[in-house]
C-alpha cells in the first residue's frame, strides 16, 4: 500500500494566503517575531456498552493563530473566520495584547535560533486513516467486542471505545519557515466489570493495548492481538475477583511495560521538561525536583537506567517532523547510566540555557488547537532496553518474594515529581522466582529517585513496548497532548506496597 498523501481537503483551505496576510500585518505593526499556525484537527469518538453503540460523535477544530513578539513581550490571538480581513484583525489583536503585556514583562522574550525550513511537508507513518473507515464498521467492531466480553461468566458489563484523530498543521513565520504536516493516531480500548456474589466486591479488567501513532491497520494487521486479549480478559477478571487482598509491605516488583510507561511519563517525562524545572509551570502543573543545577550530577536512578527523548520515534504519539515553532525534531539523551544529562526544550527555554543542545531547541513546542499558544510539551520519552537480552521470565526468576504488575490504572504524583502512587490492572504474586496467582488491592508508592535507584535490571528488546497516553494535560489554559513512552520489563527491589482497602479504612 502506498503511503498516504496530504489530505486535499486541507490543502484546499486558504492557509497560505491567510498566513501571508497575518504575518505581513504583524510585521507592519513592528513585531520582531511573528508566527502563524493554521490547524484543522478532526476527531471521532465511538463508545459501546453491553452490545449497544452508546456514543458516536465527530468533531472538527479549524482555525488559526498569530503569535508575536512585540517590544519584548508575547502577544497571541486566534480566530476561526477564514478571511483576509480576519487574519489582519487577529494579527492586530496579537500585537495589541503584546502591548498590554509589555507592562508586566520584566524579562524580554527571546528565542533560540533555528534554521529556515523552506516549505517542507511531513506525514506520519500510517496506512489507513481511521476516519476514512466507515463508522458502521468501527461501531460493529466495538459492539462485537462488548458482546464477546460479556460471554464470560464473571462479566456483568462491558464497554469498548475508539478515539481517532487526524491532525493537520501549517506553520509560517517571519524568518521564512513554512511547514505543512499531517498525522494520525488512534486509541482503542475495552473493559469488563463484574461482581463476586459471595463478597459483594466488584472490579474491572481493561485492555492493556497502548494508543498508537498508526492508522486503522492497528486493528487489523496483527500489531496487537485483540482477539486473544478479548478472550482472556473475562478469565482474568474472574481470577481477580477471587484473588486474595495483598498484605501491605515491601516487595520486589517486576513491572510490565504496560504499567511502567506511565511511571516513566510522570516521574521522568514531566520532571525533565525545562520549563517546569525553571518554574514556568509552578502555578499549575508544578515544578521539578530535577532542577537545572543538578544537570550532570543528579543520580536519577541506577546505572542500568538510560532514558532518551525522541520526537522522531516511529509511530510515537508525540512524533512530528517539525514542532509548533518551526523546529526540526530530534532525539537526545535525558538520563545516561543513571545520571541526568538532558532536558526537553522549546525555543524560549533553549534561549535561556544556550549551553544545552548547542543553543538550539530540541523541538518540544506544541499547541493542541488553533486556539491555544504553543508551550513546551513532552517528547516521546523512553527507557532504553538492556543489552543482555533478559526476558520477563528471567526477571521474575530473580525474585524470591515480589509482585508482577501488568497494565495501568490509577496514577498520581506530587507537583515536584517526588512522591507517586500507582495501581494497575493485574498483580501476580511472585514466590521463589515463579508467578503464584493473582493479588488484589495493590498500589505501589515511592519517591522517584528511590524507585529508579532500585531498578536492578531491565529486560531486553524483546520485552520492549511503546506505551503512551492520548490526553496528557499541562498549561493554563489547559492543553492536552499525546505522547508515547517505550520501555522494557524491569525489576525493582524493595518497593512499598499499600493495600488500597486498608487505605480506604474498609
Amino acid at each position: 500500500m502506498s503511503a498516504p498523501g496530504l489530505d486535499p481537503t486541507f490543502s484546499d483551505l486558504p492557509h497560505r494566503r491567510l498566513g501571508e496576510v497575518a504575518l505581513s500585518r504583524a510585521q507592519e505593526l513592528g513585531a520582531s517575531h511573528a508566527d502563524f499556525r493554521f490547524e484543522r484537527n478532526r476527531y471521532q469518538y465511538l463508545g459501546a456498552r453491553d452490545g449497544v453503540l452508546q456514543t458516536a460523535s465527530d468533531a472538527e477544530d479549524l482555525g488559526f493563530a498569530v503569535r508575536v513578539v512585540h517590544q519584548g513581550a508575547w502577544g497571541f490571538a486566534s480566530g476561526v473566520v477564514l478571511t483576509d480581513e480576519e487574519a489582519r484583525r487577529v494579527a492586530e489583536t496579537a500585537v495589541a495584547v503584546a502591548r498590554v503585556a509589555a507592562a508586566m514583562t520584566t524579562t524580554p522574550v527571546e528565542l533560540a535560533p533555528e534554521p529556515v525550513h523552506d516549505d517542507v511537508t511531513w506525514i506520519s507513518g500510517y496506512d489507513v486513516d481511521p476516519l476514512d473507515v466507515p463508522t458502521r464498521d468501527k461501531s460493529a467492531l466495538l459492539v462485537d467486542w462488548t458482546e464477546r466480553l460479556r460471554a464470560g461468566s464473571a462479566v456483568a458489563h462491558a464497554t469498548a471505545f475508539l478515539q481517532q484523530v487526524q491532525e493537520n498543521k501549517y506553520y509560517a513565520d517571519l524568518s521564512g519557515t513554512r511547514t505543512t504536516q499531517q498525522r494520525v493516531r488512534l486509541q482503542p480500548g475495552f473493559e469488563a466489570t463484574g461482581e463476586d456474589a459471595e463478597t459483594g466486591i466488584f472490579d474491572s479488567m481493561a485492555s492493556i493495548a497502548p494508543p498508537a501513532g498508526r492508522g486503522w491497520e492497528y486493528l487489523t494487521d496483527g500489531h496487537w492481538d485483540w482477539d486473544a486479549e478479548i478472550a482472556e480478559v473475562p478469565e482474568l477478571l474472574a481470577e481477580k475477583l477471587k484473588a486474595p487482598s495483598v498484605e501491605a509491605g515491601t516487595y520486589d516488583l517486576v513491572v510490565h511495560p504496560s504499567n511502567l510507561w506511565l511511571t516513566i511519563h510522570e516521574s521522568i517525562g514531566h520532571a525533565t521538561e525545562l520549563d517546569r524545572a525553571l518554574g514556568y509551570e509552578a502555578n499549575y502543573a508544578g515544578t521539578s525536583f530535577a532542577t537545572y543545577d543538578k544537570l550532570g550530577t543528579l543520580q536519577y536512578g541506577s546505572p542500568v537506567m538510560n532514558v532518551r527523548g525522541d520526537r522522531t520515534q516511529e509511530h510515537g504519539l508525540a512524533t512530528v517532523g517539525y514542532d509548533d515553532e518551526g523546529v526540526q525534531t530530534q532525539a537526545w539523551d535525558i538520563v545516561r547510566d543513571g545520571v541526568l544529562v538532558g532536558y526537553q526544550l522549546d525555543r524560549s527555554m533553549g534561549h535561556l540555557k544556550p549551553e544545552l543542545n548547542e543553543g538550539r531547541s530540541n523541538g518540544c513546542a506544541y499547541a493542541d488547537s488553533p486556539g491555544h499558544i504553543p508551550i513546551q510539551r513532552m517528547a516521546n520519552v523512553s527507557l532504553v532496553p538492556g543489552t543482555d537480552g533478559l526476558s520477563t521470565d528471567d526477571l521474575v526468576s530473580r525474585v524470591e518474594r515480589g509482585i508482577y504488575v501488568v497494565g495501568d490504572k490509577s496514577w498520581s504524583i506530587d507537583m515536584q515529581r517526588f512522591n507517586f502512587q500507582f495501581t494497575g490492572q493485574r498483580f501476580y504474586k511472585i514466590t521463589d522466582g515463579r508467578l503464584d496467582g493473582m493479588l488484589r488491592d495493590v498500589a505501589y508508592q515511592a519517591t522517584t529517585t528511590d524507585f529508579w535507584g532500585s531498578m536492578e535490571a531491565v529486560g531486553g528488546q524483546d520485552t520492549w513496548l511503546l506505551g503512551g497516553a492520548f490526553n496528557c494535560g499541562k498549561a493554563q489554559p489547559g492543553q492536552v497532548a499525546a505522547v508515547s513512552h517505550g520501555c522494557p520489563t524491569a525489576l525493582f527491589r524493595g518497593v512499598n506496597i499499600l493495600n488500597t482497602m486498608d487505605e480506604a479504612g474498609r
Binding site: 463508545g47 458516536a56 486566534s78 503585556a101 508586566m104 466488584f202 493554563q476 489554559p477 488500597t500 480506604a504
Partner: protein
C-alpha cells in the same frame, strides 16, 4: 470560500435546521471569546485573546427498530461550513443503529432573549487588574518573592435550536484567578485562587498580599511523619473532593453495580444514608453567584448525557439531603432503567452542612493541634467501590496549635474517600463560594462549599515536594 463574518449565530442555527434532511434536527451554536494572562518568576509568560464559533448538529432518523442519531461538531462561521456539518450528521444518522436512549424530543420552548447577539469579553477585562499585577511583580521582586499565576475570563453564548421548536439561549461568563508565591530560595510555597464572573471583584494587590501572608506563616518549618491528623479542609479543598463525588454519581453506572452509589445485590443506594445528618449536596442553576445553564445542552450521548434530552429544563436538584442519597445524575433513559426521577447533570455544585457556622479562622481557633490545608492536587480514583481517592497536599500545610497557626509542615500524599469524609467530619463552617484547585480551571469552577474539620484524615506518606 464565501463567507460572511456577519452571519449571526441564530442564522447558523436556522440554516442548519432548514438544511437538514433528517426527521429531526438539533443545532447548537457556541460563540466563545476568552482572554488570559499567565505569569511566572515575576514576569508575564504567555497571554492571549481567543475567539471561537462552533456548531454541533445532531440528526435524528427513523430506522428499523427505532431512532438513530448522528452528531457532528465543527468550527464554523459560515452557512457553507454549517451545510457540511449538517450533511455529515444526517449521513451519520442514516448509517446508524437505533439509539438505546431514544425519547420524545423537547419542543416549543423559546428564550425571550433568543434574538440577542452573543456577549463577549476581551483583554480589557484586565484593565484594572493588569497594572496592579505589574506593581505586585515590582514589590515581590524587591522583597525577594516570586509570583506565578494565571487569570482567565471567557464568555460563552449558547444557542440551542431544534426542528421541534426549541430556541434557547444562555450566556455563561466564567472567570478564575490563581496566584502561587514562593520565597526566592524556593523552600516555601503558598497559593490563593478563586472564581469570578467579571473580574470586578478580583484585586491583584489583595491576591499578592494573601500569598505574602501565607509565606510568612511558613517561616517556621515543621517536619511531620505520615499518619492520621486532625485536619481542616478549606472550602477549596472540599470543592475538589465534592466534584469527584458528583462526577461519580451517574445513575446508570450505580444501578449496574459499578460505583460507591451501588447497593450490593443490585440497584442504587438512593434512599440510603450516605452522609452525616445535616449534610446536603445539591445543584441549582439559579444559585446566586453560580448561575449556569437552566436547560440541558449536549452534543453526544453517554452514561450521563442524552442528546434526546436537549432542552429539558433544569432546576434545583438535591443529590444528598440531610445525609440521605436522594438523587443521582439521570438521563430520561437511565431514569427509566432505575425507576427514579429525571435529574440531569447541572454545571454547579453546593455543599451545605446544617449546623455549619463561621469561617476557616473559627475552625483554626477551635483546634488544639492539627493541620490546615491550602489545597489538594493530582486527585485520582483508586477504588470505585469506596470512591477511594489519592492526591497530594500543595502550597501550604499549616500547623495549628492551641488555636493558632504556628508554622508550615511538609506536604503529604493522602488516601481518602469523599463519601467517608461526609460521615466523619466533626465541624463545618458556613458555605461560601469556593474554587477547586484541581478541577476549577478547565472543568468545573462553580462551587460553594464549607470548610470541614476531619479528625483522622489519612496522610498516607510524606511528599518532599514544595
Amino acid at each position: 470560500m464565501t463567507i460572511s463574518a456577519r452571519t449571526t449565530a441564530q442564522q447558523l442555527v436556522e440554516h442548519a435546521l432548514a438544511t437538514s434532511s433528517a426527521d429531526d434536527c438539533i443545532a447548537i451554536v457556541r460563540d466563545v471569546t476568552s482572554a488570559n494572562l499567565r505569569w511566572a518568576n515575576n514576569t508575564l509568560t504567555t497571554n492571549g485573546v481567543m475567539t471561537e464559533m462552533s456548531v454541533t448538529v445532531v440528526s435524528f432518523v427513523a430506522v428499523d427498530g427505532g431512532t438513530a442519531t448522528g452528531s457532528v461538531s465543527g468550527s464554523a462561521s459560515t452557512t457553507e461550513q454549517v451545510t457540511a456539518i449538517v450533511e455529515a450528521a444526517d449521513a451519520a444518522a442514516r448509517a446508524g443503529s437505533p439509539a438505546e436512549d431514544a425519547a420524545e424530543l423537547v419542543g416549543d420552548v423559546a428564550s425571550p432573549d433568543w434574538d440577542l447577539e452573543p456577549e463577549t469579553t476581551d483583554i480589557g477585562v484586565y484593565d484594572a487588574f493588569a497594572p496592579a499585577l505589574g506593581e505586585a511583580f515590582v514589590e515581590a521582586t524587591a522583597e525577594r518573592r516570586l509570583l506565578y499565576g494565571f487569570v482567565n475570563h471567557d464568555v460563552t453564548t449558547t444557542y440551542l435550536g431544534s426542528s421541534r421548536g426549541l430556541r434557547l439561549r444562555h450566556v455563561q461568563p466564567t472567570g478564575h484567578y490563581a496566584c502561587t508565591g514562593k520565597d526566592d530560595a524556593l523552600t516555601r510555597s503558598a497559593w490563593t485562587g478563586g472564581a469570578t464572573r467579571d473580574f470586578r471583584d478580583v484585586d491583584a494587590a489583595a491576591m499578592a498580599a494573601t500569598v505574602k501572608q501565607r509565606l510568612g506563616w511558613a517561616e517556621r518549618r515543621v517536619e511531620l511523619p505520615a499518619g492520621r491528623y486532625d485536619t481542616i479542609l478549606p472550602p477549596s479543598s472540599v470543592a475538589d473532593l465534592m466534584i469527584d463525588a458528583y462526577w461519580g454519581a451517574g445513575a446508570r453506572v450505580a444501578h449496574e453495580g459499578e460505583s460507591v452509589y451501588s447497593r450490593r445485590g443490585g440497584g442504587t443506594r438512593i434512599g440510603d444514608k450516605v452522609a452525616a445528618p445535616g449534610v446536603s449536596l445539591f445543584s441549582d442553576p439559579a444559585y446566586a453567584g453560580l448561575e449556569c445553564a437552566p436547560f440541558v445542552v449536549t452534543g453526544a450521548s453517554d452514561n450521563t448525557d442524552s442528546v434526546f434530552d436537549n432542552g429539558l429544563p433544569l432546576e434545583r436538584t438535591d443529590w444528598i439531603r440531610d445525609g440521605l442519597l436522594t438523587g443521582l445524575i439521570q438521563t430520561r433513559h437511565s431514569a427509566g432503567m432505575t425507576g427514579q426521577p429525571v435529574t440531569p447533570m447541572i454545571d454547579n455544585l453546593v455543599l451545605e452542612i446544617g449546623d455549619g457556622a463561621g469561617t476557616v479562622d473559627d475552625l483554626v481557633a477551635g483546634t488544639q493541634r492539627g493541620l490546615l490545608l491550602t489545597c489538594l492536587w493530582y486527585i485520582r480514583e483508586v477504588d470505585p467501590q469506596s470512591m477511594l481517592l489519592t492526591g497530594l497536599t500543595r502550597d501550604g500545610v499549616y500547623v495549628v496549635e492551641d488555636g493558632e497557626i504556628v508554622g508550615a509542615a511538609n506536604n503529604f500524599r493522602w488516601n481518602e474517600s469523599p463519601i467517608d469524609l461526609l460521615n466523619r467530619f466533626t465541624a463545618a463552617t458556613d458555605t461560601v463560594p469556593s474554587f477547586s484547585r484541581e478541577w476549577g480551571d478547565d472543568y468545573f469552577s462553580r462551587t460553594a462549599t464549607p470548610a470541614l474539620r476531619v479528625p483522622d484524615f489519612n496522610m498516607s506518606s510524606v511528599s518532599q515536594g514544595v
